[in-house]
């Protein structure tokens, strides 16, 4: 009786997912609308996608966003993984409470506060606002999310694997790269993807910390949304959703394959 599909449960799941997905589906559908009006269907057309690619400002912003995303996600993944290691492996060092506070607080901190405080830091140290400052700001925000994702994997990690490797004479560095890292790799990959999408997504912190020449895609979309809803924005949003969806699906397939491979290896090892 542990698992039941009662009518109530099915209804709440169906309604819940309809609520979560319907707005996104409608947005995608209306990006293919022939009519200039976003909410009146006027036939199928891909013309908004064509005009999107001729919009130089939008294309520039996309390029900036992609670069900021890749760089900040990569650095944040390294820092976040280190922070996760610190949180799980070193349970007693002075300043640990402050450290865990600084890792968890940015997860819920209102973005306006984070954005304003980072901007004031950059002004105080005399750093010109632009590409670099947005990237630094995004690293700081997203490394905390990476830390939480990687940490949840490290907590369930079997330390005896490491001990076995070291008993067999592996150096700590070799143990880390050959045992620990491969085991927590799926979490690191999903941490990177989370960091990348958060960076891709962010409007508020980017608006505070970015300067001329470093307008990101959300900033561009936001300034156009304020002027009114157009099918072209729907098209831009659809492409953004498509990129992320493809990334998530590819990553989860790769993950699944690696998992299957690992199980095969284990079986082979047991057969000897």
């Amino acid at each position: 009786m542990n698992t039941t599909w009662s009518r109530f449960n099915v209804t709440s799941i169906v309604l819940g997912f309809a609520f979560l997905y319907l707005p996104i589906v409608l947005l995608i559908v209306f990006s293919f609308n022939e009519s200039k009006l976003v909410t009146v269907w006027g036939g199928f057309s891909t013309k908004w996608y064509v005009s999107l690619f001729h919009n130089q400002g939008l294309m520039d912003a996309t390029w900036v966003t992609a670069r900021v995303g890749v760089i900040s996600a990569t650095v944040a993944t390294v820092l976040g993984t280190l922070a996760a290691l610190t949180l799980t492996r070193y349970t007693r060092f002075r300043g640990r409470i402050l450290f865990s506070g600084m890792v968890f607080a940015p997860l819920v901190m209102p973005e306006v506060i984070t954005g304003l405080s980072l901007l004031l830091l950059f002004v105080a140290v005399g750093l010109d606002r632009g590409f670099l400052t947005v990237t630094l700001a995004h690293i700081t925000l997203t490394m905390c999310f990476v830390a939480v994702v990687v940490q949840s994997r490290l907590v369930s990690f079997d330390r005896s694997l490491e001990e076995a490797a070291m008993d067999l004479g592996a150096t700590p560095a070799k143990t880390f790269f050959q045992i620990t890292l491969p085991v927590i790799m799926p979490a690191i990959v999903s941490g990177w993807m989370l960091a990348f999408t958060l960076s891709l997504d962010d409007l508020v912190i980017a608006s505070f910390t970015s300067g001329p020449g470093a307008t990101t895609l959300p900033m561009k979309i936001y300034s156009q949304v304020r002027l009114g809803v157009t099918p072209e924005i729907n098209a831009a949003c659809t492409l953004l959703i498509a990129v992320v969806a493809v990334g998530v699906i590819v990553a989860s397939i790769a993950n699944k394959r690696r998992e299957v491979q690992r199980q095969l290896d284990e079986q082979a090892a047991q057969r000897g």
Binding site: F8, P23, Y90, L98, F104, E111, M143, D201, Y222
Partner: protein
């Protein structure tokens, strides 16, 4: 960072190792802590101190638009002399203008109502997921996480097309003859509630799901066998056992919702008064950096208690995971 003393550095069988290797390992261990620590100190903690100092400084028509607070040009005495220039004018200004007080109160009330609404919407979903057959659960979980990967801005934007007077919701309701006048939802507080519930729903469902999934359902069966009606069993057993999830979910929704900017700006229209929007306007429209810093400091003070509760909940979850 010499005050970071490592007491249980990776329990390596150190005695057998040559001295140099041990030294190197100790250095690496230290580095693992120091690098993220220093980064967060510099980019997270120090900025708050700067915000606090600037909130005490004077507005000036210059770039940056405030009188400098970290001025070392006159040497150390000039730096300490600068402290005498600091004052609470900006805070006094915040109390004089009723607008700010109203914005804080409205934000807290809106965030509280939306948190309750998100809990009401999210609980049945999480409950249904936790009771679904084990084979379907990973798929359902994936489906809850997936919208989290799509842009926040896009998800809020999608609702504009649905809620506006000539939008899809009104078209549907009009064509079904449920209403004969378009409903005005966009640019009202109702739209903000819908936006917050929609955007933050995964944050509520995930912690709820993880505490409901761990629950031992034989307890419910025992209650049923002893003649307890299902509703009473829910309130006496299921809900209390899911409380850690309820608390974590509510904090994850409430805290960011108080300072929310995008949702009140795009869905709430120009009339709505929320503190995130006020701070944004002070900063970008009025270019008054000291006042926006003061707004941020007070917002942070208001959120200190919920943020500390959140950290405790996180630390607890971390302990239990082990």
């Amino acid at each position: 960072m010499s005050n970071i003393a490592i007491t249980d550095a990776a329990a390596a069988p150190a005695a057998a190792k040559p001295f140099l290797t041990r030294l190197a390992a100790g250095f690496v261990n230290r580095l693992v802590i120091i690098v993220p620590y220093v980064w967060l100190l510099f980019f997270f903690l120090i900025p708050f101190i700067i915000v606090f100092k600037i909130s005490l400084s004077q507005t000036a028509i210059a770039m940056p638009p405030y009188t400098p607070v970290l001025d070392f040009s006159d040497g150390l005495s000039g730096f300490f002399g600068g402290f005498r220039e600091l004052n609470l004018d900006n805070y006094a200004w915040l109390t004089q203008d009723a607008l700010y007080f109203k914005a804080y109160v409205t934000s807290l009330v809106i965030a509280a109502i939306s948190t309750v609404l998100t809990l009401i919407v999210g609980y049945p979903i999480a409950y249904g997921m936790a009771r679904a057959p084990a084979t379907v659960r990973p798929t359902l979980l994936m489906l809850v996480i997936l919208p989290f990967w799509t842009s926040f801005l896009i998800r809020v934007y999608a609702w504009i097309g649905i809620l506006k007077p000539e939008g899809l919701l009104n078209q549907l309701l009009l064509s079904l003859h449920i209403i004969d006048q378009p409903l005005v939802i966009l640019n009202t507080y109702t739209a903000i509630f819908i936006g917050i519930v929609y955007s933050y729903l995964p944050f509520m469902v995930l912690p709820l799901y993880s505490s409901l999934e761990k629950m031992d359902y034989s307890l419910i069966e025992a209650a049923k066998d002893l003649g307890c009606p299902p509703t009473a069993a829910f309130w006496k057993i299921t809900f209390p056992l899911s409380l850690p999830g309820v608390i974590a979910g509510c904090l994850l929704v409430f805290i960011p919702a108080v300072g929310e900017f995008v949702i009140p700006d795009l869905l709430g229209g120009s009339q709505t008064l929320m503190i995130g929007k006020t701070l944004w306007n002070e900063f970008f429209a009025n270019r008054d950096w000291p006042v926006s810093s003061a707004v941020a400091v007070i917002l942070l003070l208001l959120l200190t208690v919920p943020i500390m509760l959140f950290q405790q909940a996180q630390a607890k979850a971390q302990e239990q995971g082990k």
